[in-house]
């Protein structure tokens, strides 16, 4: 494996402006929003758009084999160890930043319409901008610590936004759950950072990429990699820490689209791509990643089959798709993971925004059983939702096809450069294919239940305002042509090749050739299968799904209850912890600590009673004591 950092040219640039835009935007939006609530959304949108423009500027400024670097200041310096507050902008960062700010801006615009009637929208937009700031820190950071600040920042914003409607206890609880579950992953992340500092004395990506390959034992690399991956499972909702993401749907839908589909949850994938040199040295860790990811993709897809809440379907779908990304990353095809990350951001954001539009139209009804036939009243929403459905199903020529196809082929060829993976590559690709069929099925199911048939609810649905429709159309357009563009025009593999290892670049066949088209349509078979089956079952033979469910009664029950994971965690983790906490509360805290604290307080109170006689309230006395005290000090030092 060649070291990618060695021959890259470092160019000074001012990158700090990019995260500063949303940070300033957050403050201004909140302050201005106190007086002018409607203005807050527009300010926040403008701030994120400005950040997007700066990213575009840097995107064009970034030359081949260059990396832009901005050392803002020395953050902390202890002995030989010092960390700069530095930003770095290479081709990987460029792609991430474009996704984050681009989709972020669209979702800000969408939120202006979606939150138009909420009382505390200035707070919402401030949080949203703050999230964008943290996310940009995460992807722009030139070392692990800055990345970690962003990592924690997005976690915080996620918590704040999930619990945005904090008056609802359940929603606030969902936010707390997300935060606590993330903590577990973060602890592992911290341990990994400590290990890196201890062994290499630096957290800088470029320095690490130079130093690490030479002097790392496989055991250490595996340990660090696994710890980092545990961190990633927290943020990116992989087994076993995925439980928070479905609950996170309590937040406003734009939040789900931005944070819990397009950007924050992909941080783990980004982390792996960024630290590829580390994972390369730990084949065993890669295997773990692949196994966990494959399991996640399958399990989440099966759960999604039976959900009736439109957002829950999408949430489990996200978990499953993240599993796909980790599968690619685990197989060593980091650029494919990023590719899927980008296309997923397009179509999943579009799906979420579409669901938001539907929910908005149905007066906050989320149960698909009370929808249906919305195609007639919401033509734009329906059309964009269908496009995204086909995209996620992986049907040529929609965006999802390309990335999914690459994942499957990467898995098949995984053994080529990771011998540990060899026996598992093909089975994993079968699992992935099966998950892809399920994906196509459940998404089509949700679309069919929502838009086809006749309306089963009681509200009066209507098309959403233009602020919400425009982002939908743009994102659907991206879901439609994004894959072709990234594969053909930009050639993502070649482009990312400047920053991360991508294997052999195929310049092979032209996309216009007939054989390519035929091949592509053939490889879309899982998508066609899933979509066709779902359409058949939910439009023609509506009684069959019920029969199936009854036939597999216990299994359906298991699925509907999400494999009892929450209950399992409750039994083996939460309840013992509660018991211990209660013991500590009653036994340790109240008896020992409170006792000593109260004792101290009593001592202080008694001595205070005594000393307070000197507090006469007379300025002259205080002045006199000061003078005498000063005299005492002078005499004392003169006597020495």
């Amino acid at each position: 494996m060649e070291s990618m950092g060695s021959h890259r040219e470092i160019v000074d640039a001012s990158l700090a402006i990019i995260p500063l835009c949303p940070l300033v935007g957050a403050m201004v939006a909140y302050i201005v929003g106190q007086k002018q609530k409607d203005l807050a959304g527009w300010i926040a949108t403008a701030a994120s758009t400005l950040a997007f423009l700066f990213v575009v500027k840097n995107f064009f400024a970034l030359g081949t084999n260059q990396v832009l670097l901005d050392k803002s200041f020395v953050w902390l310096s202890v002995g030989n160890f010092s960390i700069d507050f530095a930003f770095q902008f290479d081709h990987l960062t460029a792609v991430m930043c474009l996704v984050v700010t681009g989709i972020g801006s669209l979702i800000h615009l969408y939120s202006v319409g979606y939150m138009a009637h909420d009382e505390s929208r200035p707070r919402f937009f401030a949080y949203l901008n703050l999230f964008l700031f943290s996310m940009l820190l995460l992807v722009l950071g030139a070392n692990l610590l800055v990345l970690f600040v962003g990592w924690e920042g997005v976690g915080l914003c996620s918590y704040l936004l999930i619990g945005f409607w904090h008056k609802n206890i359940a929603f606030a609880g969902a936010g707390r759950k997300a935060f606590v579950v993330n903590r577990i992953g973060d602890a592992a992340f911290l341990l990994a950072m400590f290990l890196i500092i201890m062994n290499y004395g630096s957290l800088d990506f470029m320095a690490l990429s130079r130093v690490m390959p030479g002097e790392t034992s496989e055991g250490l690399a595996t340990l660090i990699s696994v710890l980092l991956f545990i961190g990633a499972t927290g943020k990116s909702a992989q087994i076993p820490l995925f439980v928070w993401l479905p609950d996170a749907m309590a937040g406003p839908t734009p939040v789900s689209a931005l944070i819990h589909a397009a950007t924050m949850v992909t941080a783990g994938v980004y982390l792996m791509a960024r630290l590829n040199f580390l994972f390369e040295m730990a084949p065993l860790a890669m295997l773990v990643v692949c196994m966990v990811a494959g399991l996640t993709a399958l399990v989440a897809a099966t759960i999604a089959l039976v959900q009736n809440d439109i957002k829950k379907v999408l949430a489990y779908s996200t978990v499953s798709q993240l599993g796909f990304m980790f599968l690619a990353a685990g197989a060593g095809a980091y650029w494919v993971a990023i590719f899927h990350l980008v296309t997923h951001a397009f179509f999943k954001a579009c799906l979420f925004l579409g669901s938001g539009s539907v929910i908005h139209a149905c007066h906050h009804e989320q149960d698909m059983r009370h929808m249906g036939g919305l195609q007639r009243v919401m033509p734009f929403t329906a059309a964009t939702y269908w496009i995204s459905t086909l995209a996620i199903a992986g049907i040529f020529p929609f965006a999802g096809y390309f990335s999914k196809h690459h994942i499957l082929s990467a898995l098949e060829h995984a053994g080529a450069h990771n011998p540990q993976l060899f026996p598992w590559g093909v089975p994993l690709s079968y699992i992935a294919t099966f998950a892809a069929i399920l994906t196509a099925f459940y998404v089509t199911r949700s679309a069919a239940m929502t838009f086809l048939g006749s309306y089963r609810g009681h509200a009066h649905p209507h098309e959403s305002p233009w602020q919400m429709v425009v982002p939908l159309v743009v994102l659907a357009g991206l879901a439609l042509v994004g894959g072709v563009f990234l594969e053909g025009a930009l050639s993502l593999q070649h482009y990312l090749g400047h920053a991360i290892p991508v294997g052999d670049v195929h310049h092979g066949e032209s996309m216009a050739s007939f054989s390519f088209l035929l091949n592509a349509l053939l490889h879309s078979w899982p998508g066609f299968l899933g979509v066709g089956l779902a359409l058949f079952l939910y439009t023609q033979a509506k009684e069959i799904p019920g029969k199936i469910a009854r036939a597999f009664g216990p299994f359906t029950q298991v699925l509907a209850n999400k494999y009892y994971v929450d209950e399992l965690y409750g039994a083996i983790i939460v309840r013992p912890l509660e018991g211990m906490a209660r013991f500590l509360w009653k036994g340790a805290d109240q008896a020992v600590i409170d006792g000593s604290v109260n004792g101290t307080a009593a001592v202080v109170e008694i001595s205070g009673e005594l000393i307070r006689t000197t507090s006469t309230g007379q300025l002259r006395h205080y002045g006199f004591f000061m003078f005498v005290g000063t005299l005492f000090i002078i005499f004392f030092y003169m006597a020495l």
Binding site: S615, Q618, R620, F627
Partner: protein
């Protein structure tokens, strides 16, 4: 004159200011005693500056004057505010924060 003469004068002025601060009750007089002490210190600063042949002492005096000006503005405003509430500027009357 030797530097010590100036310093001695400065010390005596400072002590007089301190005695005034402790003994007098009128807030404005107390305030003036503080000014007296500041001036005594200024004198010492300038004397030291000349003794060491450097300008640091004089720069310090400059800043003391700035602070004294700020103190005068705020201090007198406080005294006026106290007078409005208490109808008195005796320092011994303003003891409402005593426990």
């Amino acid at each position: 004159m030797s530097t010590s003469s100036y310093l001695t004068i400065s010390i005596i002025l400072f002590s007089i200011g301190t005695i005034g601060f402790v003994v007098r009750r009128n807030a404005i007089v107390v305030f003036m005693c503080v000014e007296l002490m500041l001036n005594a210190v200024n004198l010492a600063f300038v004397a030291f500056a000349r003794h060491h042949g450097s300008l640091e002492g004089e720069a310090a005096v400059f800043f003391v004057m700035v602070v004294a000006a700020a103190e005068a503005a705020v201090g007198l405003a406080i005294i006026i505010a106290v007078f409005r509430n208490h109808r008195s500027i005796e320092t011994s009357d303003a003891d409402h924060l005593r426990l």
